[in-house]
C-alpha cells in the first residue's frame, strides 16, 4: 500500500519527519518497505505561467516561451508539443537538479544556448522531475496553483510503501494508516462526514436490490446518480492516484478508486441504463456460467463464486471484477454505485480460481467491516457530485441482512501481565487502547476492563488480540527481556536423532562428504537404477501439479540423488569421491501419509589413484567399501553378516546384503556398469545403502567390559589350502569358535601357480591368549591341531607346505 504523507495530513496533523513515521509504523506492525521522496531536490523549480509563445528563429521544431514567474519573466527554448499560453507549468532555473529525459541520469541544469538563442531555464516534463516516466510533453499544473511558489511546496510529498499484513485490511487505506499514525504520535484523527444534496425521485422507486445469498453478502448499499458528465479528474485527484500507484481513467472510475484508497472499501459503478430491469441481485454463480469481465476476457464461473446480476444476467463477479455489459463509458449518464461486503473466503477462492487478483479482491478477501460500505458510499456519492456535476436520487438502498452488534471483550490488566510480562495499571491500559479508539470501561471488578472494539478492527476478537494492541502502542522495545523461568519438561531424548548424528560423524571420519539432495525426483531418474531401465522400486507418491518433470515424484530411493551428485563432481578429477546422504524416502500407503523411512546412502568412486610422491593411494574396490560398512557397524556396536546379494542396481557377484540378526538391513556392491552408464558415471563406483531405521532397532547402547588379559599371547601363522567354493567366513568361524583363540587375521589370499586347481591359499594369523594363565606351547599345540583337524574334516582343508 503506497501512502502519500500529504494525503495522510488531511486526517492527522503529522509533524514528525517521514523517517520517524516510517520507523513507528514498522515497529507497530505496518512495515514501511520503502520511501519515495517526491521533490526532495527541487530546489530551483518554481510554478510559472506561459505568457507568450514565439517561433525559434533558427529551428522549426523549437519554440521560444516567455514564462511569468510572478517576480520576473524569462524566456526559454522549448520543444514540447503541448505548450499553451496561459498554462501553469513547472519552471527549472539554471542550477536545478533534473533527470535527463534521454539518459535517465540526474544532472544539473547548465546555462545553454540552443541554436543561437539563450535559454534561461527549462519547462519540465514529469520524467525530468522524476515523478513518472512521461516525457512526451511538459507537466501542466492546475490554474489554482499560486504563481512563483516552489514546486516542492505544491507537489512535494513522501510516499510510504507499506507492507500491510493480511489481518489488517483496514490499513489498506489512507484513513486506516492515519489512525495508526495518530495512535503512534498521540494525535487525533479527523475525518469529515460526507454531505451532499439529493433531489428527484427516491432511489427505491428507481432500482431494486435483492441479496439471494445473505451468507456470502452480509450488506449491499447503493446510490444512484444521474446527469453524469464523464471527463478527466482534476489534477489533485489524479496526482493522488498516481502517488498511490494507480492510473487515472475518468472522473467516475477515479472516484471509486480514490474512495477505495481513502477508506479501504472497494466500490463499483454500473451504467444504470444497461442494468436490465433496473434490478440488482446478489447470488451464487451457476456452474459454468459464462461471463466477460472488464478486461475483455471470457470466463467460466463456478458455483463457488458470487455474482452481481441484473434482471437478466450476471453483470459482475462480486468483489473481484465488473463486466463489460454494464461498463461505464464516455456516454454514461446514470450510474448505480455499489458499496457492499462480501464473504472473504469466497472472494479469495474465486480470485484464485479466475487468476484475477484485483485491488478490490485483495481487500475483500481479508474481511472488511460491514459498517464500512455506507460511509464509503456517501463519500463516493459526494465526490461524484463535486466532480461530475451529477444529481443524486433521494436516499440510499441499504440491504443489511448480516448486521452485527459491536464486539465486546472482557479484558484485564492481569492478562497483559500474563502474556507480556509487563506490569501496567488498568488506567495505563485504558489510555493505551483509547489511542486506537477502543472504548474501555473498568468493570469495577479487580483489574477487569470491558473493551468495545471499533467497527473497522475486524481483526480484534479476543484478549490476545487486545494484548498485541497494548504491546504495539507501548512498543515491543519497552517489554523487558527475561529468560524462561518456568519448569523444565520431562527429560526426553530423540534417540533416532543421536543415532543419526553418530552415523553422520562416523561416515565423516571415514572420509565421506555429506550431501543433501532434493526430496523430489523424476520417474526417469528412478528408472535408471535398473540395468533394464525400468522402474523396480516400491510405488512412488506423486505431486498433484509437478513443478517440472524432474521434480514429479517423492523419492523412493536416495540412489538417484547421490549418483547424480557423483557425476556432477566427476569433472574435478578428484582422486576419490566419497559421498553420503542421510535422508527420508517416501513409500506409498493406502489413504494415508506415505511412510517416511530414513536411509543412509553412500558412494565411493575412484577416478585414478591419488598422485603421491611415495606411491599412489590404493584404488577403491569392493573391500574398501566393505571396510567402511564394517567400521560403521562396529562403531555403532552392531554385528552384521555379509551374504551374496542380488540387488538389481549392483553388479552380480560384487553385491552383498548386510544382515543383522537374520534381517537384511542394507546392501553394498559395485554399481552395475549399465546403471553407471545411465548416470554418465565414467569410473567404477561402489554403493552402500542401509535402512537407518532398521539399523537403529538393532543398536546396542549397552556396552560391556571384558577384562584385559594380563597373560602373554602366542602367535601362530598358517597357510591353508581351501576349496574355492568355501568362503572365508566358514573357515574363520571354525577357528574363532575355539575358546583360546583371541583374534583371527587373514593376511594373504592367493591362488594361481603353486596352488592346485580349484583351491585357494589363505594365510591366517591366529592369536591365542588366555585370561587365566600363561599358555604353554603344549597347550597351544593341542588346540591348534584340533582346529586344523576340524577344518580338514569339515572342509577338506590342508596345510600348505
Amino acid at each position: 500500500m503506497k501512502v502519500s504523507l500529504k494525503w495522510l495530513r488531511d486526517y492527522v496533523p503529522v509533524t514528525e519527519a517521514a523517517s520517524e513515521i516510517a520507523h513507528k509504523l514498522t515497529m507497530a506492525g505496518l512495515e514501511v518497505e520503502g520511501m519515495q521522496v517526491i521533490g526532495g531536490d527541487w530546489k530551483n523549480i518554481f510554478v510559472g505561467e506561459i505568457l507568450a509563445i514565439n517561433p525559434h528563429p533558427n529551428a522549426d521544431r523549437l519554440r521560444l516561451a516567455t514564462v511569468n514567474l510572478g517576480s520576473k519573466q524569462v524566456t526559454v527554448v522549448c520543444g514540447a508539443p503541448n505548450l499553451t499560453i496561459g498554462d501553469k507549468i513547472a519552471f527549472a532555473e539554471v542550477g536545478a537538479e533534473l533527470i535527463d529525459g534521454h539518459t535517465g541520469q540526474k544532472a544539473q541544469l547548465k546555462p545553454a544556448k540552443i541554436r543561437g538563442v539563450v535559454s534561461e531555464g527549462m519547462i519540465c516534463s514529469e520524467k525530468e522531475l522524476g515523478i513518472s516516466g512521461t516525457h512526451e510533453g511538459i507537466l501542466v499544473l492546475p490554474q489554482s496553483v499560486q504563481l512563483g511558489m516552489l514546486l516542492a511546496d505544491y507537489m512535494g510529498d513522501t510516499i510510504l510503501d507499506i507492507a500491510v499484513t493480511s489481518n489488517r485490511p483496514d490499513c489498506m487505506s489512507v484513513i486506516g494508516v492515519a489512525r495508526e499514525v495518530a495512535a503512534q504520535t498521540d494525535k487525533q484523527v479527523s475525518v469529515r462526514a460526507p454531505a451532499y444534496a439529493e433531489e428527484g425521485p427516491a432511489i427505491h422507486s428507481l432500482a431494486a436490490i435483492e441479496i439471494k445469498a445473505p451468507d456470502l453478502c452480509p450488506r449491499y448499499c447503493a446510490s444512484l446518480i444521474t446527469g453524469v458528465k464523464i471527463g478527466p479528474s482534476p489534477s489533485w485527484l489524479q496526482q493522488r492516484l498516481l502517488a498511490s500507484g494507480m492510473r487515472p481513467i475518468n472522473n467516475v472510475v477515479d472516484v471509486t478508486n480514490y474512495v477505495m484508497l481513502e477508506y479501504g472499501q472497494p466500490l463499483h459503478a454500473f451504467d444504470f441504463k444497461k442494468v436490465q430491469d433496473h434490478r440488482i441481485e446478489v447470488r451464487r454463480a451457476q456452474e459454468g456460467e459464462p461471463f466477460k469481465t472488464l478486461d475483455d476476457i471470457d470466463r467460466k464461473l463456478t458455483k463457488d463464486m458470487l455474482v452481481i446480476a441484473d434482471g437478466k444476467r450476471a453483470v459482475a463477479v462480486a468483489g473481484i471484477m465488473g463486466g463489460q455489459s454494464t461498463e461505464v463509458t464516455d456516454a454514461t449518464a446514470e450510474i448505480l454505485i455499489e458499496s457492499a461486503t462480501f464473504n472473504a473466503a469466497v472472494i479469495h477462492r474465486g480470485s484464485l480460481a479466475l487468476n484475477l487478483r484485483t485491488e478490490a479482491s485483495l481487500r475483500f478477501e481479508k474481511g472488511l467491516s460491514r459498517e464500512l460500505p455506507l460511509i464509503a458510499l456517501k463519500r463516493a456519492t459526494q465526490l461524484m457530485v463535486e466532480l461530475t456535476g451529477c444529481r443524486v436520487a433521494k436516499g440510499i438502498i441499504d440491504v443489511y441482512p448480516g448486521k452485527e452488534d459491536s464486539k465486546q471483550i472482557l479484558f484485564s490488566a492481569w492478562e497483559v501481565k500474563r502474556l507480556l510480562g509487563v506490569d501496567l495499571s488498568v488506567d495505563e491500559i485504558i489510555r493505551t487502547l483509547e489511542k486506537l479508539s477502543f472504548e474501555c470501561e473498568s468493570t469495577g471488578i479487580a483489574e477487569e476492563i470491558l473493551v468495545t472494539v471499533p467497527w473497522w478492527r475486524t481483526d480484534v476478537t479476543n484478549k490476545a488480540d487486545l494484548t498485541e494492541e497494548v504491546a504495539r502502542i507501548i512498543g515491543y522495545e519497552s517489554i523487558p527481556t527475561t529468560m524462561l523461568s518456568s519448569s523444565l519438561p520431562e527429560p526426553q531424548t530423540l534417540p533416532m536423532r543421536s543415532f543419526r548424528q553418530k552415523t553422520q560423524d562416523i561416515m565423516v571420519h571415514c572420509g565421506f562428504q555429506e550431501i543433501i539432495t532434493y526430496s523430489l525426483t523424476s520417474m526417469e531418474m528412478l528408472q535408471k537404477l535398473s540395468p533394464k531401465n525400468e522402474y523396480i522400486g516400491p510405488q512412488p507418491v506423486r505431486t498433484a501439479h509437478p513443478m517440472s518433470r524432474e521434480l514429479e515424484y517423492l523419492r523412493t530411493s536416495l540412489r538417484p540423488g547421490i549418483l547424480a551428485t557423483l557425476v556432477r563432481n566427476q569433472r574435478y578429477k578428484e582422486a576419490t569421491i566419497n559421498l553420503f546422504e542421510i535422508g527420508k524416502i517416501f513409500l506409498y500407503k493406502e489413504k494415508d501419509l506415505p511412510e517416511e523411512r530414513e536411509m543412509l546412502c553412500a558412494v565411493l568412486s575412484s577416478a585414478q589413484p591419488k598422485l603421491f610422491w611415495r606411491g599412489n593411494a590404493d584404488p577403491v574396490d569392493f573391500y574398501v567399501a566393505k571396510g567402511v560398512v564394517e567400521t560403521l557397524l562396529s562403531q555403532l556396536g552392531i554385528e552384521a553378516a555379509f551374504n551374496p546379494g542380488d540387488d538389481a542396481s549392483l553388479l552380480s557377484g560384487r553385491n552383498a546384503v548386510i544382515v543383522v540378526d537374520g534381517d537384511p538391513v542394507g546392501v553394498l556392491g559395485e554399481v552395475h556398469p549399465r546403471v553407471a552408464r545411465a548416470f554418465d558415471i565414467n569410473d567404477t563406483a561402489y554403493l552402500i545403502e542401509i535402512d537407518l531405521e532398521k539399523l537403529f532397532s538393532y543398536r546396542n547402547d549397552v556396552k560391556s567390559y571384558t577384562p584385559i588379559s594380563r597373560y602373554p599371547s602366542t602367535i601362530r601363522d598358517i597357510a591353508l589350502l581351501v576349496d574355492v567354493a568355501v568362503s572365508y567366513e566358514q573357515i574363520r568361524k571354525v577357528i574363532a569358535a575355539s575358546p583360546l583363540v583371541n583374534q583371527v587375521i587373514l593376511f594373504d589370499l592367493y591362488s594361481g601357480e603353486q596352488v592346485p586347481q580349484g583351491k585357494k591359499s589363505l594365510a591366517i594369523r591366529i592369536i591365542y591368549q588366555s585370561a587365566e594363565h600363561t599358555l604353554t606351547d603344549a597347550e597351544v599345540d593341542e588346540v591348534h591341531k584340533e582346529i586344523l583337524d576340524i577344518l580338514n574334516h569339515e572342509f577338506g582343508v590342508t596345510l600348505r607346505s
Binding site: R418, L484, Q492, Q513, T517, E596, K610, R614
Partner: protein, 344 residues
Amino acid sequence: MLDKVEWLASQAFADLNKIANLKDLEDWRVRYLGRKSDFSQILRSLSALSPDERRVVGARANDLKVKLEETLTQKKSSLEDVVLSSSAEALDVTLPGRPVKAGRLHPVTQILNEVCDIFIGMGFQVAEGPQVEWEYYNFEALNMPADHAARDSFATLWMDYESEPGHRPMLLRTHTSPVQVRVMERTRPPIRIIVPGRVYRYEATDATHEWMFNQIEGLAIDTNITLADLKGTLYEFARSIFGKDRKVRFRCDYFPFVEPGVDMAIDCFMCAGAGCRLCGYTGWIEIMGAGMVHPDVLRRVGIDPDVYSGFAFGMGVERIPILRYGIDDIRLFFGNDLKFLQQF
C-alpha cells in the same frame, strides 16, 4: 690391595678418555665394570681381608666404582648426541605429507546442529515430524482454514491424492509448524521443543529462492510464559549465533497462529545499521517470525489458553550461513558441488 684398586681406576679413566664410539665404550664397560672385571673380583674378594683393611679398601673401591659409572653415563650420552645430531638422517620437511581423506558434514547439517545445541542448552528438546503432511496440521490447526488469505504466503506443493473428488488434503509441509501441533496433541505442558527439518514451497528457484529448504521451529508452553521470555530466549540465540555484539530488534508482525506476533531482526553486520544492499537499506536483517501461541491453536489441542501460555518461533536455516559467510546463491546448498561443500 689399595694400590691395586687405585691403579685399576687410573687405568680405567685413562682408557675412557681415548674412547670415541659407542661400541668401544661398551667394551670398556665390560672390561672395567662388568661382572668378570678386575674391579668386581676385588670387591668380591674383600671378605678375605682383615676387618680394618676391608673397611678402608671397600670404601675406596666403592667410591671409585660410583665415579667410573657416573663418568661412563656422561660419556655415553655425549657420544649418543654426536650420533643423533649427525645430518645423515635429515628429511626434506618441505615434501608434502600423505593426504588423509577427510569428510565433512554438509553446512546445513552443521548449522542445524549448532542451532539445536544452543536451544538444548536452554532446556529445549528436539522433536521431529513428517515432511508429507495433512492440510489440517499444516494450515487448519494453525488458524488458516481453507480459503484464508494468509495461505497465499505459502505456495503449496499438493500431493496427488484425493480423499474425495476435488479435495486434496495431502501436501509437502510448507513450514515446520505442524510439528508444534502434533507435539501439543500428545504432550501436556510444560513443553519446550525445537523442530529442525526440511520444508517445501511451490517456487521457481533463483539465487535467493529455493523450493526446498530447512527451518527450525521452537515452542515453549507452560503457565506464565511471556513475550518477555520470548525476547530473552531469542536474544540469547541471536547473540550465540551471530556474535555477542549484535543488536536485536523485536517488532510487531502478523502470523495467523500467534498473537501477539513478533518479527526479530538483527542489526546489519555489513553496514552496522547504516543501510546497505544486504539489509535492503534498512539497517536490519529479519531473522525470524515469532509470537505468543494463539489461544485458538491451544484450545484446538486441548490446552486451556486461560491457564497456559507460550511462545513459538521459526526461521530459515540456510539464511544463517548465507549471512554468516556471504553466500550469494542459495542453490549452492543442494547443488552439492564439492568445491562449495568442502569450504565448511
